[in-house]
């Protein structure tokens, strides 16, 4: 006197089952599980200070990228606008405050590199 139990599945569940069945049949499910485990382990083992430090590094790289990208574009524009300066013209460029600031920055940058090599 067994009663036939019908399990009604939604269309979505059936589709999901078919996809998973394919992964199981081809043996690839183990790789997926491994990958999920790696992702999950990484989330569990990450701490807030680690996130701070990682993001700080990314921020430094982004800042350097922003400055470099802008400076290259600016320099390109100026080069195209003006003729190649003479030796005297180069000295005239040094009168500009931003140029001197940039040059000082490059020299300090050199010093900063020097401290580490």
């Amino acid at each position: 006197m067994s009663e036939k139990v019908e399990v009604l599945k939604t269309k979505e569940m059936q589709e999901l089952e078919e996809k998973f069945a394919m992964l199981v049949q081809t043996g690839r499910i183990d790789n997926i599980i491994d990958l999920l485990a790696v992702v999950s382990d990484n989330i569990e083992m990450t701490t807030a200070p680690m996130v701070d430090k990682m993001v700080g590094t990314i921020d430094n790289l982004a800042t350097a990228g922003f400055i470099t990208q802008n400076a290259v574009r600016y320099a390109n524009r100026e080069i195209k606008k003006n003729e190649v300066p003479s030796l005297f013209g180069l000295l005239k460029l040094l009168k500009d405050e931003d140029t001197r600031k940039g040059l000082a920055f490059v020299l300090h940058l050199t010093k900063g590199i020097g401290k580490q090599v």
Binding site: I43, T46, A48, V51, V55, I58, D59, A62, F66
Partner: protein, 396 residues
């Protein structure tokens, strides 16, 4: 003839828009056909949501402040001057310095400000995390707190359907407070009461400004032992007796009053004559699609200054800025705007000290509460500590 674009305000909205415009209009800038100028009343740029972390001793504050010039592309001319007047007939903004900044297009991105004076006693009796100074004071009080009651109150603008700054912040900070007190080992000795006003944007007698979240909140608060009360519209504080009074005639005693205070537009906007918002709140009448100030073809606005029913927060601005930049670029190139804002807001709410909840909504769909996660919290904190600056620079 060179087109002049003037941006008033160097916060999130002004900065993102300046950089996005410079990128969008680089061709015209190279040909010397467009000039972008920003004026701001401060040399510094403050990441406002950072203050919330200061209140719970999770940041000291300086991490969230940078020099404005370092965030702007060199194509944007930046000047420190406070806007005091706008002449929409002659198309110029006057600065405190006396300089008149003429424009073909102007973007009003001056944000909003805390107006504690609008509730008697709140200035003396209350604390808030919407500014760094306010958050530091709150942090000092939390450090001293050993037992008692923290009362959370929320205030909404009188202008219908306009939210206070950062809609989810009161919930975020209530749960952060719970976690912070647990961390300190004193949660058992401190009662937290979260209250919400009777009228909160689209919701009446709720706990949040949108229906679905309002309905799910009681179970969240029950789970962490936070008491809650609807229809508590704060209208007076007795700083001596430490009692908060509501319009509905109730009173609640507190040891610390953590309040979301009233917000209004900045003085410059309130006195500009452009707003007809009630109670002199100053919100700009904004076309919900083009983001132009209604009635003006060459004035755009975004961020906290608008009268739209979307959150006054960075997650809103991030979506609005591209619409404003695209529309101004199109107007310069074709003579008409081409983009439309759909009300999209995307953010990750800090639901406690180590749980982040992704959220999104637009004009048509309310926020659907999703489970918060540790990964979500990392993304949120990562955004605070670094990705924000890339977003402000128009890199993300």
């Amino acid at each position: 003839m060179k087109k002049k674009i003037l941006i008033v305000g160097g916060g999130t909205a002004g900065t993102m828009t300046a950089n996005n415009l410079a990128k969008k209009l680089m061709y015209e800038i190279d040909k010397d056909e467009v000039e972008i100028t920003m004026i701001s009343n401060s040399k510094y740029h403050y990441y406002r949501p950072g203050a919330m972390y200061v209140a719970f001793h999770k940041a000291s504050g300086h991490e969230f402040v940078r020099e404005q010039r370092t965030l702007l592309m060199p194509e944007v001319k930046f000047l420190v001057d406070e806007a005091i007047e706008i002449d929409t007939n002659s198309n110029y903004v006057k600065g405190k310095s006396g300089t008149k900044y003429s424009y073909d297009f102007v973007i009003l991105a001056t944000g909003c400000e805390v107006a504690v004076d609008r509730i008697p006693g709140l200035k003396e009796g209350g604390n808030w995390f919407y500014s760094y100074d306010g958050a530091k004071k709150l942090a000092e009080k939390f450090a001293e707190l050993k037992k008692g009651r923290v009362l959370v109150t929320v205030n909404f603008p009188k202008t219908p359907d306009v939210p206070h700054q950062c809609g989810i912040a009161p919930i975020e900070t209530t749960i952060m407070l719970h976690d912070y007190l647990k961390e300190q080992g004193i949660r058992e000795d401190i009662e937290i009461i979260y209250t919400y006003p009777k009228v909160a944007q689209a919701v009446t007698d709720g706990l949040f400004l949108q229906g679905p979240t309002s309905k799910v909140l009681p179970s969240i608060f029950d789970g962490i032992g936070v008491k809650y009360k609807t229809s508590f519209t704060l209208n007076k504080v007795d700083p001596e007796k430490k009692i908060a009074y509501s319009e509905e005639g109730e009173e609640i005693e507190f040891d610390i009053l953590m309040s979301t205070p009233p917000f209004i537009a900045t003085k410059f906007i309130r006195e500009s004559g452009l707003s007809k918002a009630v109670d002199d709140e100053g919100w700009l009448p904004t076309d919900k699609k083009t983001l132009k100030v209604k009635g003006y073809e060459n004035i755009y606005t975004l961020g906290d200054t608008v009268d739209l029913p979307v959150s006054k927060a960075g997650g809103t601005i991030h979506n609005q800025t591209d619409v404003v930049a695209d529309n101004i670029a199109s107007e310069i190139r074709y003579g008409y705007p081409t983009e439309s804002y759909d009300g999209k807001v995307i953010a990750i709410a800090q639901m406690g000290l180590s749980c982040g909840m992704p959220l999104w909504y637009d004009y048509k769909e309310d926020v659907q509460p999703t489970p918060c996660s540790k990964l979500g919290s990392f993304v949120r904190k990562g955004f605070n500590m670094g990705i924000y600056w890339a977003a402000a620079r128009g890199m993300v």
